[in-house]
Symmetry: D3
Subunit: 248 residues, 6 copies
């Protein structure tokens, strides 16, 4: 059940039996020579959508631009400042709390979002922690889950790509988008099969270290069949995990 394809009376009904919602969150950032700029948002959006159908729970629109300042030297990357992202996530969360939601499960598609998301959770809680009992709405619980860490998914990734998974523009996430968007499978020459690894500082430095945008990965390993397996495993686990979270 997708919030944006529902009417307000449908949400009013939903709230009578559940106070939990899933918000997919990703990033719009370079993913190397053949990875899509939307990879991180598309993966969490589509895994969430399928799980929501299967599990009968509510899925919000996707928070599609996140924390990607270190990718800015590659065209197409969009980023929020962390302070803006905290403000925007707070507004989304407070809107949901206004309606009676008490549990927000943020399904994340981008490792670079994790820190700012947790900072946003603390900002969201700050009001009721520092002035308890003062709001007219329920206190919220926010939970962050990276899709690649859902039960069974990381194991599947290790099995599918024992070598060359790397850290950014990985064959696993590219496999997922190849499966989901067959019309957008891309090709490129890879003089170096496995990209270099290392630390991340600012955008110019990033492009010097990782000239084609990948970190430690071999995207040529990506294939739609692997993507299918990953999506199905993720959806299966997500249905179970969301149910636990909603009932906790």
């Amino acid at each position: 059940m997708q919030l944006h394809l529902s009417t307000w009376p449908e949400i009013e009904s939903y709230l009578q039996h559940s106070k939990a919602i899933l918000v997919p969150i990703g990033s719009t950032e370079q993913h190397g020579p053949i990875g899509l700029l939307g990879t991180d948002a598309l993966c969490s959006e589509e895994i969430a959508r399928r799980a929501g159908e299967e599990g009968g729970f509510l899925v919000a629109p996707t928070f599609n631009v996140g924390q990607a300042q270190h990718h800015l030297a590659f065209p197409g990357t969009l980023t929020l400042r962390p302070s803006t992202m905290i403000a925007a996530m707070t507004d989304w969360a407070n809107s949901l709390r206004r309606h009676g939601f008490e549990r927000i499960y943020w399904l994340n598609g981008h490792g670079g979002n994790v820190a700012t998301m947790n900072a946003a959770f603390a900002e969201i809680q700050h009001g009721s922690s520092i002035n308890p009992g003062h709001e007219n709405s329920p206190t919220l619980r926010c939970s962050l889950r990276n899709w690649w860490e859902l039960a069974g998914v990381s194991e599947t990734i290790r099995e599918l790509f024992p070598v060359g998974e790397g850290n950014h523009a990985t064959p696993s996430e590219i496999s997922v988008t190849q499966y989901l968007f067959p019309q957008a499978v891309k090709y490129a020459d890879f003089p170096v099969r496995i990209a270099p690894s290392g630390p991340i500082f600012d955008a110019e430095d990033f492009r010097r270290r990782y000239p084609d945008g990948r970190i430690g990965s071999d995207p040529t390993l990506a294939n739609p069949a692997a993507g299918k397996r990953l999506v199905e495993t993720a959806v299966h686990s997500l249905v179970r995990e969301f149910r636990n979270f909603a009932g906790a």
Copy 2:
């Protein structure tokens, strides 16, 4: 051409012949008993996507939560504070300017966004206006266009719905989503065919004045065929208008 389904080298190529991009922007807010919460984002997203394919220009991901505070008394509505929306639009625009974009055409799907969007444009320009020549990137031009005001569209709307178009949860926008999302056509009883009209203040007041969320509209008039005609007219005009803007 959708940015999130492209790679960074594809955007780098695109920038060699065009500095213009379209950003669809909408809202996630109640649209009466049968209108979708995502109406405003979905309409501009899909009209933009089709025009981008037809016209060969670049379309960004959708800015999908906007200015909807007055709808907050209806479950499912999400809103940003205007100050947050200004910060987020500024971050999107500065990211694009960093890559060399010089023209951003914001295709808007929500009348309630217009004021805050124009305020954001002034905030985006403020830096180069108050300290000219100080940034290392081009100055930007932002343009706002409501899809229902594209050439021919408002005329078509008047022709299709001479009575009952109203101001919110209109048969025209609902027709568009019925055409685009046949799986999400909704039904409801409408004891009152044409909803009341009037001013807008805060959320509680809004729900008292407009108990089912509509303003002045008769959504029962909506139909997929009307939606098809509106989409096609809008796409056709958008291709021409974007081209003019990009070349200006």
Copy 3:
């Protein structure tokens, strides 16, 4: 009745029979070769003051610097960032709400303020919309009215200046200040009678397009008699409109 020429016990008395106040708002920005930098603030301030006397209602001090970033290439222009203007208008409104005011009628003198003002209204309402019933003060209604759109005024303008009214540094607003400030009537040579028209982007671009600051106008048409007629028409309508708003 002007707030700044009143004492607090007088305001306390006023609040016993009316919860409505008028705030004049303008801008301090270039108005071409003979228009005053203060035109927009002075027009709304003085029309408001006279209407307040005639109608017996309360007029606040003038919010005299507004949204003028696109005029910054002309010396003397002052501007707030939109985010600052939203914060400041919010503080004015919350101060008034604290005292029991429930209606604020903002009489505006500058078209460039409209977007940011409406964004500010949404920011002002946000608190009570997202957390209803939580403040100890009444909910507010804000209303924006441009003085040149008061009943009868635009008609008078069209009659007085059928040609050459234009969009910025117009003969109508200059007539008003010539009438109100005879000691500050200015003269200049106008090699081009009617200034060019076109779009507005950043400040440098503005000055290139409109080298003397006017847009589409012929200020040589301005005269004190026209100003007198405009002021009297505006005052007359404002008294009626404010009364309706206060009683709504």
Copy 4:
């Protein structure tokens, strides 16, 4: 010479021989039973205006709402949050710097503004202090001067009101407004001649301690003749002091 009664070419000329401007700043806040809510803004505005005429220097519009949170329990008081005031003063100053101004003399009418004004000066300087040489405009010098501390004024006050001057709603400031606004001289019974003195915390506490709004003062001593003498002394000194500042 008042900026808002000038044209931009006049300011352009002025800047060829002087880089200095005066900004009157005050507050809109209760001033006891007979003091005007606008006292602090009106005093600095009018003293500045007269000095500007006499000395031939430029006077900006008045920053008319300042720091008055502790007066909020009295109707009519308006206040900015200190953080808003800092943002707004920064915007005014950066606008002036954009045009080439290098000296801003803030003539202050409200003791409660002093702290936030000095904080704002530090915020204004922060940019060029932390990233020297990075702006395209001159560095600014801001100077704060309370009108009652201009040479000769405090001596005159002590002479005029050796007893009963007090700290808020003083006979000296009320004399000034009685002189300047004879149409707005107010009367009240004063069961207690000299108001109590003490510390200032929040608004509710303030009204409990100072039930009619005065601190330590006896406003019945105010008279227009005293106001005239104070204004003339202040104007005379201000012309000299501004000249020194402009040339420093």
Copy 5:
């Protein structure tokens, strides 16, 4: 009693008999050729600590970076923007209010902090002043005290250093750190005994005017014995003053 060397049950007990706490606040900024960068934070921290032991009251950790933008041209100086400092002081104060504290005595070690601190107090009070009765915690009273103005201290300074005390990097504050940190007594040649005096604008200007960082002072006069006398006098007075404040 130092908060950071206590447990939460100890603070819970303390609150049963006192609602007052002392927060030392200083700055980390250049103090000339032989003054320590931490002078202002170390002086208030250590005077507070000793007084807390003697008087049995609670002392918070030190707010150790303050307002020092004008010292930024000297290496080692750290500063907050005034707006950041206001936000941080507000967070500290609201945390304390959450626990039931009603009185915060800020013992200050840096003249340059005074304005921003007072602005912060107004920001802290703003919430309860503009929306009285809305928080679930007590209203706070904040008090600012410079250690060198404690009863007897300024007299002692005048006696110890009748000449050469100056305004920044003074022999009195350097004496205090020499007494408290004998391991950190520094030496330098002083071609000019008494540093120049004058106004303060931005950082580059400051270093031009005051090339070694001092203003008006002769630090060669500093000695540990003077520091001992100053600390003892300050501690003695602080115990008494804090007690009065706590009981007020």
Copy 6:
């Protein structure tokens, strides 16, 4: 070498051979019945100080209040909002960059700071990533290191406390403060030896789940000897790690 016990000429010299500095960062928050409120700041401060002496590198003052909103239901806890913490860390970092520092090693003492610190790093980098080459100062590299993860430390903790280490108010951190502050060793009865474990949401919820403040730990195991061993191991590793970071 401690910055606050140094003079500016000493920092100027230091910068001629090193561009790296260490900033200790912690939190002021409840640490259960016998843990000190300052535990997290004191541990990183003192480990840093000792390593700075041994390794001859520069240590800044301690950032002593961090992210602790979930501990607010226990008296004595202080917290910044995440947005404030990001602003303050940005100000510290920009101050250091102004002087020529290029590497900031943040030694962290509080797990709850990690997310906001990483968000702050992204905010700090944002300026140079989105507008490369525009600042007059070097680009910065920030690095975060938790003291308990320094080489050898976690192994030592596992060896010392194979059972009962837990997650908050751990015997290892309490051992460190017992060793460092023998005058502040506390005692309490522990009816339950090992505290419960679980998730963290807002402050009220935290206190319900963890009534004495501990999570999963048995603080009765703490002892000064263990603290000594941990400090020595940490200092030894920190000297090596900082050297590598400074030279990278």
